[in-house]
């Protein structure tokens, strides 16, 4: 199967190939649940498998031949060399047939609609290309870059290596310079989402990808002038819903907070603080009604924290 990798896939193999393409037994990844018409026609590589869906990578666009992809205005995405993603929700045999068909169709459609609407609203998400609700398929652009989780791990390792002799202060300063601007911009992007009354439903550092194209760090970060940070892209809207309730948005943020605590335990305090700083600054872009709303959400977040898992309600 395909050995051609995108630039990012060559650097970060862990996220990319769940099936080790080097061993003979895995040379043909399990495509048995994908409709054969599609798996025969296109070169697809399984790159991730969740409880609900399988994610495939393809160098080919479903309907634009490669000869045309090179042209600038004929492309539907900005970076054809990054490839495309096919998200497949296979049928679940343990469910009742009719129910399964309905669930698959509904969840696929919901995700596709949200991707498109968020794109129209200017939020940073993968470009939506096509959908087949009956078969549970969504085509979208691939984001060629690491997840926030991988990026933070890499940067922390880099900082530690470069400044191991300088001690904690030097390293902490570096984190401020390098990691904070990005987390501010992450917070700001989530704020845009919440301002549109959309909650993600599964906000983790694995569902935030970083696109290679850089842009200037968000305002307010010390030393961020002229520093280029990657652009955060929000992915995986399979559990998303519309909600105006501050409670739901607070829960969304709390899920992200817990994700930071579990995957980046040492500095999660700083990281969460920076994300929330970016969130508050970016919510509604400082409009008066927005300031009131975001305060409501922050208050709810405090309440949700008190409730959380493994919290004693005694006393």
């Amino acid at each position: 199967m395909a050995q051609r990798l995108s630039i990012y896939q060559a650097q970060f193999p862990r996220r990319c190939m769940l099936v080790d393409v080097r061993t003979p037994s895995s040379m043909s990844p399990d495509l048995s649940t994908l409709p054969s018409a599609i798996s025969d026609a296109l070169d697809l590589t399984l790159i991730s498998q969740g409880a609900e869906a399988k994610i495939y990578f393809s160098h080919d666009h479903p309907f634009i031949p490669s000869s045309l992809l090179a042209g600038t205005i004929s492309t539907t995405i900005s970076n054809p060399s990054a490839g495309y993603i096919l998200k497949h929700r296979p049928p679940k045999r343990y469910r009742h047939d009719a129910l399964d068909a309905q669930l698959t169709k509904h969840r696929t459609l919901s995700e596709a609609r949200i991707l498109y609407k968020l794109f129209l609203a200017g939020i940073s998400v993968p470009s939506f290309i096509a959908v087949d609700p009956r078969l549970g398929l969504i085509w979208m652009e691939n984001v060629d870059g690491p997840s926030l989780k991988e990026w933070i791990w890499a940067k922390e390792a880099e900082i530690e290596e470069q400044l191991c002799d300088e001690g904690e202060d030097g390293q902490s300063q570096k984190r401020l310079e390098i990691i904070k601007p990005l987390l501010l911009s992450v917070g700001s992007e989530i704020a845009k989402l919440h301002f549109l009354d959309t909650v993600h439903g599964d906000l983790t550092t694995s569902n935030l990808l970083l696109r290679d194209g850089s842009r200037l760090g968000a305002e307010g970060a010390a030393g961020s002038h002229q520093l280029m940070v990657p652009e955060p892209v929000v992915i995986d809207f399979g559990l998303s819903q519309q909600s105006t309730l501050p409670e739901d948005k607070a829960v969304d943020l709390y899920v992200l907070e817990r994700a930071f605590i579990s995957t980046h335990p040492i500095h999660s305090g700083e990281y969460v603080e920076w994300v929330l700083e970016g969130y508050v600054a970016g919510f509604g872009r400082g409009r008066k009604t927005a300031v009131f709303k975001v305060n409501e959400i922050m208050k709810k977040l405090d309440a949700v924290r008190l409730r959380g898992r493994k919290r004693s309600m005694v006393g």
Binding site: A37, L42, D60, F63, S66, T76, I77
Partner: protein, 186 residues
């Protein structure tokens, strides 16, 4: 003899998609009349390029029509009419065919023909079209499609809201291709 573009959609390697582009068309009303009367010689998708942004836009409509056909879910009688219907973002067939299809006053035409069998008919397609369309055949490229686009017409036909800019063709293509993919589902 000028000819158009023949290509294959990656997901449908068995099917050939022929696309032609004509300017200075003088017999639009005649073509339309023959088309409506069911003349089988005219089994092509005739699209008014005023509402077309790019080649990718055209392919998005062809893809939608083909996948609907494969799934047994076509809403019009033929693949050609389904392609024109696919351009629209609504379920209103008559309205979409009127807005995106050939009009009596169309002075340029984008023509699409899909062969779902393996027979190579590309040469005869251009010959036939040359007889049907009284106009000048120009190469089917984004550069040639661009000047024919009327952005106001596109905005009206797709009911594009304020605040969404169609200035960048690549972004605009994403907007219309998304609407095409989500027709009936949004």
């Amino acid at each position: 003899m000028a000819s158009g573009l023949t290509l294959r959609l990656p997901q449908f390697p068995q099917s050939s998609v022929h696309i032609g582009l004509y300017t200075s068309v003088t017999n639009a009303s005649i073509i339309r009349r023959e088309l409506l009367s069911g003349n089988t010689r005219y089994s092509y998708a005739f699209v008014d390029p005023r509402s077309v942004f790019s080649l990718a836009h055209v392919l998005a409509a062809v893809y939608r029509a083909l996948t609907d056909m494969e799934a047994g879910g076509m809403r019009t009688r033929t693949l050609s009419s389904e392609i024109v219907f696919a351009f629209g973002g609504t379920m209103n067939i008559a309205e979409t065919l009127r807005r995106f299809g050939i009009n009596d006053d169309s002075d340029s035409l984008l023509v699409v023909k899909v062969d779902t069998d393996q027979v190579d008919r590309s040469n005869s397609v251009w010959d036939e079209l040359g007889e049907i369309v009284q106009g000048t055949s120009i190469p089917v490229t984004d550069e040639n499609i661009a000047p024919l686009t009327d952005v106001e017409t596109v905005k009206k036909n797709y009911k594009i809201q304020q605040g969404i800019s169609l200035a960048d063709r690549s972004e605009a293509t994403k907007v219309v291709a998304g609407a095409i993919a989500l027709r009936g589902y949004l």
